[in-house]
């Protein structure tokens, strides 16, 4: 192990920091963290393996139609079961258009609007993990999303990445380790100790009282940035709140400063691109953040889905392509991995309203210079179905395990249990 005296001394200093809270009260926790080795620092030769790597998660909410995202044109049953929705093989026009080439040998193509992902594929930056799901699939959006986020089939408890951080941080949370763009903090990032930062709009990640009157800013700032006040018992709830309050201010300053600077890379319109633009800015500003989480809804395409799904695919592909360009231009391509998932796919057969109902297994995308490129795993059979639904060929926890082991270089078993072998997803 290359783990070294530095991390020991950091723990020791943090410990002393707690004991001396009344005298070091103006130093927020994570500044101490940064000072003792967690901030990106290219000159440092000894580094915890995987510690400078960043994971970006893109959540497609509502249940993305996996079969019209990665098109199984090898299958006659696909065309038969989707008379109004099927996308044709490259060079072949179906009712849903013509697929972009992905893997001719496997008979798989990409949705015609996924030109952004096609370009990444052509550059060897796209991995397509097929048939990802879990046993006894739950078709409730909420329940299935909880299952994906906790990494447990009962959907209860802490998030899988929250547990990763809990195991890493030895009881001292890292305030900026996980940042989610959106109103709600995703359960994935919530641990017993580790809590994510979530904000929809950086302008709201601050106290809104100061908008009421300019004179209010000064007394507010004096109070919330004071840290633990003299005379307050450092072990008390009050002292804890005063210290956390200062942490919050410093995080807010840092994040808002990062995202307010214009991006060098042009991003398309749309909410997902907007979120990824902010993530790109925070990465450029070298925040100590290890996981960023963005999400986009609207994938619950029960009716007339051709147009709406094409629009969604366009937004996803273009936003991710722009983000990857941004990362490349920063020279960060070896340090950033992006994962795209949805809580379930949709039924194989289209429904009576030219849409699709809630289904099961679906592909997961991995993007980055270290993502294992190409089509990974086996496509679920379109003949051997379970009540009209695909049978998954890879458990989603094997995907998570592959990321934890291959990307973050930690043992996934304490986090996910031992029964899900890590898929090889990182090169």
């Amino acid at each position: 192990m290359t783990d070294d005296h530095r991390s020991f001394s950091r723990r020791e200093l943090l410990h002393r920091g707690v004991a001396l809270a009344s005298t070091v009260a103006t130093v927020p926790w994570f500044v101490e963290n940064a000072a003792f080795g967690l901030a990106p620092d290219a000159a440092t030769p000894t580094r915890t393996p995987g510690a400078d790597r960043i994971l970006v998660i893109v959540q497609l909410g509502g249940g993305n139609d996996g079969l019209n995202t990665v098109v199984p044109y090898f299958s006659d049953d696909y065309r038969r079961l989707r008379p109004r929705l099927a996308i044709g093989a490259p060079g072949d026009e179906g009712p849903g258009g013509t697929a972009l080439p992905l893997d001719a040998n496997a008979g798989l193509g990409l949705h015609p609007s996924l030109t952004g992902l096609r370009d990444l594929h052509d550059r060897g930056l796209l991995g397509v993990v097929q048939g990802v799901g879990y046993p006894n699939p739950n078709r409730s959006h909420f329940a299935s999303m909880d299952i994906w986020q906790t990494g447990r089939t009962d959907g209860q408890g802490t998030g899988w990445l929250g547990r990763y951080f809990d195991a890493r941080c030895h009881g001292t949370p890292e305030p900026q380790a996980a940042i989610a763009l959106g109103r709600d903090a995703p359960l994935s990032l919530v641990g017993d100790v580790q809590k994510p930062i979530a904000f929809e709009d950086e302008r709201l990640f601050r106290w809104r009282g100061e908008d009421l009157h300019p004179a209010m800013k000064a007394p507010y700032e004096a109070a919330v940035r004071a840290g633990a006040l003299p005379g307050v018992d450092p072990d008390s709830q009050a002292a804890y709140l005063m210290r956390t309050s200062l942490d919050a201010q410093v995080s807010s300053d840092r994040i808002r400063a990062a995202v307010q600077r214009a991006s060098a890379t042009p991003y398309p319109g749309g909410a997902l691109a907007g979120q990824l633009r902010l993530v790109g800015a925070m990465i450029r500003d070298e925040l100590p953040t290890r996981v960023y989480y963005v999400s986009m809804g609207g994938f619950d395409t029960h009716g007339g889905q051709l147009g709406s799904h094409a629009n969604l695919m366009r937004q996803v592909g273009d936003a991710i392509a722009a983000f990857q360009t941004d990362i490349d231009s920063q020279g960060m391509q070896d340090q950033v991995l992006t994962m795209v998932f949805s809580e379930f796919g949709r039924r194989v057969a289209e429904n009576g309203s030219a849409g699709t109902d809630h289904g099961t297994a679906a592909p997961v995308f991995l993007i980055g210079s270290k993502a294992r490129p190409g089509v990974i795993g086996h496509h679920p059979s379109l003949v051997d179905l379970d009540g009209g639904d695909l049978k998954h060929t890879l458990d989603f926890r094997s995907v998570y395990a592959g990321i934890l082991a291959g990307w973050f270089q930690v043992d996934p078993r304490p986090i996910l249990g031992a029964e899900h072998p890590a898929a090889t997803l990182v090169v």
């Binding site: 959907g155 709600d184 903090a185 017993d192 809590k195 009282g209 919330v224 009050a238 709140l241 309050s245």
Partner: protein, 487 residues
């Protein structure tokens, strides 16, 4: 040997700020006028008002029972036929019908969240709702798992009916509660084919506490005692043919125990009283982590003894606690991190802010980590410092700004008249006294001199007058202070 920490506070020490503390902890705080009334009743009178309430009538929640009713045998037969002959249209109609009902049920759950929140804001018996919230965190059950809002309401009524009553009866009620039985797979636990989920949590989280007194073997035996539960629509029924009626051995006692009987075995253990006493202590007195003071430990031991003496009837035990020196000790004021619901309800009730839009407030409560009817797991909410992090602090500060000023030009203004009246003597309110009073009233503790100085400087900066706008501005600043998150 110092005085018993559970001995009563001398009546002369029961001042306005003690009454305010009592109302905050046993309820959700109150206006200066409400605190004054409580103080005038004297310590025993005030405690009696809070604890010995007449149960509040179950005002119309407007919920309907059958949105998620199970399929009738006729419907099941029809669907089976449709599946056989591949009648896709019928199957799809059924799927759609189910999706529609799920949507309606989620809407109903949202309306129940509003209904309960409104009860907390308006109830004349705040301890009833506060203990209902306590039990919701104790017997935590999540709506997303059971997907039946009517069952969540039934469970909520169960908590309220036993709010300050016999904790053993409540536990017996939980074994008959369709929401909990479904949540912990009680109906899957059958003779010869056990499911230990309910038994394990009964020992670990509900009655004894993790690792207290029991072994894995006891869990298996308790699971046998609990076999035979089933859910028939809205009722938990007992199916003797699924019950294991053999002899079980639980915590050293042997017998052909049923679920109710094994509950008595568990509650007979001293650990049961100590476990509940510790939880009540963290909920009502002090939730700081770390080693407890000697007085704190003596208080918990004393509460456990009282629980046993009163056979788990909570009202007399809580009365003793709320009148005790230890409860009123200045060291135990500002010693609990307000839950998100406490933060919201207390702000509305004590500051008298307009209630604003409940859905918006409840969404913010979700963001602060407390979703009514959706605790994060069967463990409930961790509470204490777990409520507080970088992200939730801004939500907490900003929801107070929202309560005070609302949004948009048509928002109801903050009615400051009662505060101004309270602060006015013969003339207009004095700025020094106003700063002192607002800080003390909002924080519940002696303000730190730095806070006093900063707020006084602010008031001087903006004209040194006390009127509604300036009171709103000062309240916005005070409610953003780190220590405002404590009660």
């Amino acid at each position: 040997m110092s005085a018993d920490p559970l001995s009563p506070l001398p009546d002369r020490d029961f001042d306005f700020w003690s009454a305010a503390h009592l109302l905050r902890r046993a309820g959700f705080g109150g206006t200066p006028a409400e605190i004054g009334v409580l103080q005038a009743a004297g310590l025993d009178g005030a405690v009696a008002r809070l604890v010995e309430y007449e149960p509040t009538p179950d005002t119309d929640s407007r919920a309907v029972p059958d949105i998620m009713r199970p399929q009738t045998p006729e419907e099941q037969a029809m669907l089976a036929r449709a599946r056989e002959v591949g009648d896709e249209a019928t199957l799809e109609r059924s799927r759609r019908d189910r999706q529609n009902r799920q949507r309606r049920d989620r809407d109903q759950l949202r309306s129940l969240r509003r209904w309960w929140f409104d009860r907390m804001v308006t109830t004349p018996n705040p301890l009833e709702e506060k203990m209902t919230l306590f039990w919701h965190g104790h017997y935590a059950t999540g709506y997303r798992t059971i997907e039946d809002s009517w069952h969540m309401l039934a469970q909520n009524r169960l908590f309220r009916a036993h709010a300050v009553g016999d904790a053993r009866q409540l536990a017996a009620g939980i074994l008959r509660d369709p929401a909990m039985v479904r949540y912990l797979d009680g109906q899957r636990n059958r003779r010869g084919n056990p499911n230990e989920n309910l038994a394990r949590e009964l020992m670990e989280l509900f009655v004894l506490g993790e690792g207290n007194a029991y072994t894995e073997r006891d869990i298996k035996e308790v699971a046998r005692c609990l076999t035979g539960l089933d859910i028939d629509d809205d009722t938990v029924v007992f199916r003797p043919d699924r019950h294991d009626d053999g002899v079980k051995s639980v915590l050293g006692r042997r017998g052909r125990f049923t679920g109710d009987e094994v509950l008595q075995v568990l509650f007979a253990r001293p650990e049961a009283a100590t476990f509940l006493a510790g939880k009540l202590y963290r909920f009502f007195v002090n939730d700081a982590p770390g080693p407890r003071s000697r007085d704190a430990q003596r208080t918990i031991d004393g509460l456990a003894k009282l629980l046993r003496r009163h056979e788990f009837d909570l009202a007399p035990v809580l009365s003793r606690l709320f009148a005790s020196r230890h409860f009123h000790d200045p060291a135990n004021r500002g010693a609990i991190v307000k839950s998100p619901i406490q933060l919201l309800v207390e702000a509305i009730r004590s500051l008298g802010t307009p209630p604003r839009d409940a859905d918006r407030l409840l969404d913010d409560a979700d963001r602060m980590g407390q979703s009514l009817f959706q605790p994060p797991s069967v463990k409930g909410w961790d509470g204490g410092r777990a409520w507080i992090n970088t992200a939730t602090l801004f939500v907490r500060q900003n929801v107070l700004v929202h309560l005070l000023v609302g949004e948009g030009g048509t928002a109801a203004p903050f009615p400051a008249e009662h505060l101004i009246a309270h602060l006015s003597g013969d003339g207009p309110p004095d700025p020094d006294a106003t700063v002192e009073y607002l800080l003390r009233f909002c924080l519940g503790t002696e303000p730190h001199p730095d806070r006093r100085r900063e707020l006084r400087a602010f008031l001087a900066e903006v004209g040194d007058r006390v009127d509604r706008d300036r009171i709103v501005a000062m309240l916005a600043i005070i409610t953003a202070l780190p220590e405002y998150q404590l009660c």
